[in-house]
Amino acid sequence: MSNKLKPRKLDLKSGRINLTHGSGGKAMTDLIQQLFLPAFNNPLLMQQHDSTCVPYSNRNIVVATDSYVVSPLFFPGGNIGDLAVNGTINDLAMSGAMPLYLTVSFILEEGFALSVLNVIVKSMATAAKKANIQIISGDTKVVEKNKGDGVYITTTGIGSKTINFDIHSSRIKIGDRIIISGSIGEHGIAVLSQRENLQLDSKLQSDTIALHSLVQSMLMLGPELHCLRDPTRGGVAAVLNEIAQSAEVGVLIDEVTLPIQDNVRSACEIFGLDPLHVANEGKLIAFCSEAAANDLLSIMQQHPFGQKAAIIGEVIADPYCFVQLKTSFGGERIIDWISGEQLPRIC
C-alpha cells in the first residue's frame, strides 16, 4: 500500500453522484479517471493540467475552463463574480500563460434579483479590467425556481504562452524547493464565516486575486522554475498530494515555515479544520530548483501579491509518494487528501 490513489471502481450502472465527487479529493479523481478521460481521450487532455496548451501555427494558445457554484454568493472580500474571473485567470497563469480573453456562461434561477446579478456582473467587469483581459463571448440560461441556486457561472479563459520551457509537474525533481506566495486558508474561512449560524465574527477577507502578474515576474527566473499550482479546493494538502503522485516523489513540509494568519488558525481550531485543507483563491505554490530558490523567493517578495512568500518545504525521494509535515512539536505526520467534504461549495 502506498499513498498512490488506488482507484475505487465507479459503479456506472447503479452508482450516483454525491458531493464528494466535486470536492477535489480522491472521489473526484476516480470520476475523472474512469468516466471523463476514457470518453474524451486525446493527448492534449492527457496532460491533465488545469489548463491545456494548444499548438496553433507558431503560437502557443492556452485554454482553461472552470465553473463556480459558491454558497453564499457574497462573502467578505469578494463574490462569485470575482471568483469566476480570477479563478480561471489563475488556471491559465499556472501554466505560465498570459491570460487574454474570457468567455462566460450564466445559469440563472427564475426569481433571482436583477440588482444582485448587476452587482455580480459589475464585479466581474472590474476584475477583468484589473487583470487587463476582455470578456469576449457569453451565454445565458434560466432554470425554473428551485432548480438552481441563484446563479452558477462558468468561465473559459484563453491565453498565450511565450516562454520556451514547460511549467509542469513532470519537471519536478528531487531536492526542488517549494514556495508558497502568502498566508493560507483565508478564502475558505471567509466563506465559512458567512454560513448560516456559524456566527464567526471574523474580519477575515477572501484572498481572491488574479495571480498572472505575479507569475509573469516569476517567469524571469527561467527554466529553473519547474511547476506552479494554485491551491484552491482541498487546499495546500490536495495540491501537494496531486503533485507527489503525478511526479512520483515525496514532499516534506516544515510546519514552522507555513504562513498562516492568527484569525485563520483560531477559526480552524474552533471548527476542527486543518488550515492545509482549507481553500485559497489568491495563492500559488511554486516548485523550483534548490539553487534558484532564494532568487525566486526574492522575486516573489518584491511583488505585491507575494510579499509574505515563504519556502515551506522540499521534494524528497519516496516510492510511496507521501506528503509529510515536520510538526512544530517535533514529530512528523502525513498530510493527506481531505476525505469527504470539509466545506462544500467554496468556489
Binding site: M1, G25, E196, F329, I334, D336, G340
Partner: protein
Amino acid sequence: MQYIDDFRNARIAKQLAKKITTTVIQNRKYQIMEFCGGHTHALHRYGLLKLLPPQIEMIHGPGCPVCVLAIARIDQAIALSQQPDIIFCSYGDMLRVPGTKQQSLLQAKANGADVRMVYSIDDALQLARKNQQKKIIFFAIGFETTTPPTAVAIKIAAKENLKNFSVFCNHVLTPAAMRAILHTSSEEKPVVVNGFIGPAHVSTVIGYQAYADIARDFQKPIVISGFEPLDLLQSIYQLIELINAANPIVKNQFTRAVTATGNQLAQSYITEVFSLLDQFEWRGLGLIPYSALKIRPEFSSFDAEKLFPLHIEPSEEHRACICGSILRGSAKPFDCKLFATVCTPENPLGACMVSSEGACAAYYTYDRLAYVKQIKTTKA
C-alpha cells in the same frame, strides 16, 4: 492562539516525558485506557506515543460517539431520512458511517433524501422555523457534552410550539461505558486496564466526581485530562504515580475547565428533558443497562422514534470489520485485515475509520507511513 501554543510546547513535552520515564517501575506494564477519541487523536497527531517508555501501553477506549452507535441505529437514521417530507439533519461525521450493506446517509442523500449537514442543533431549529411544510429530524448523538444543547433545543421547540421539529435521540453516558469495559474484562480476550485517562469535555458537564464510584468499585485510578499534548503527558504522569501508589482516586488535571460537580445548570436541563433508558446497544460493547437517555413522555411530541415508528430489517455489520474489538480495547487498528486496504476514510467499512474521533482514522491519518514501512520490512 498564544493560549493553545503554550500547551503544545515541545521542550516542556520532552521534560514531562523524561519525568514519566523515571517514574515508571522498570519491570512492570502499565495498561492505560484513554477513553476519548479526542485523546487518541492527540496522542497520534503529536507523536506522543513515541515519547512514552515501553512499559506504557495506551489502549484506545470507546469515547467516539459516532463509532459506538450500533449499526441498527444508523439503519434507522437512513430509514427516517427516507420518509416523506423529511429534512434529516446530522453532524458531518455521521453522514458517511456505513450501515447495513454499506448504505450511508450520504448515499441516501444522493438517492433523493433531504439530508443536511449541520454544525449544531440550532441550525436544525432554524430549518424547522423556515420550512413549516417540512418535518425536521435532528440526529442527536454524543456523550454528555452534546446532550445539554439537545435538551435546550427541545425546550425551545416546546416553548415556540414548533410542530415540525423532532429529535432522533442517541445520547449515551460515559460512566456506564467505563463500567461496561471493566466488566467485559472477564471475556475471552480480557482487556486489562490499570487506569483511565478520563474525558475532558464530558467532565466539564458531569464533573470529575461522577467517576468516583468507578475508581472505588474497580480499584482503578482515573485522571481527567485536557486535549492538548502537554495536558495528556501531565495526566499520564499523574496516573502513573497513582498506579504506583495503588491509589484508586479520581484526579483532575483539566482544572482550567473541569470542576468537582460540573455544570449543574446543564445537568438540570438534561434531567428535565431526558430520562434513563433501561438498556442501549453499543457497537462493540453490546447491550449496556442504563447507558443512554430517552426523551421524557412530556416531550414525546419531539421524539422522532415516537412520531415515525419504523420497522427496520435486522442489521448486519461488515463481516471482517473489527470496530467492535477496537472499541472494547481488545484490538488495535493495525490488527484489522481491512485497515488501509479496503477500508479507508474515502471508503469506510466501519465507523472507526469515519469519525474524526475514531481510532482507525487516527492511525490512518497519522501513522500510515510507519505502517507502510512495517509491512515493507516484514515482506523483506
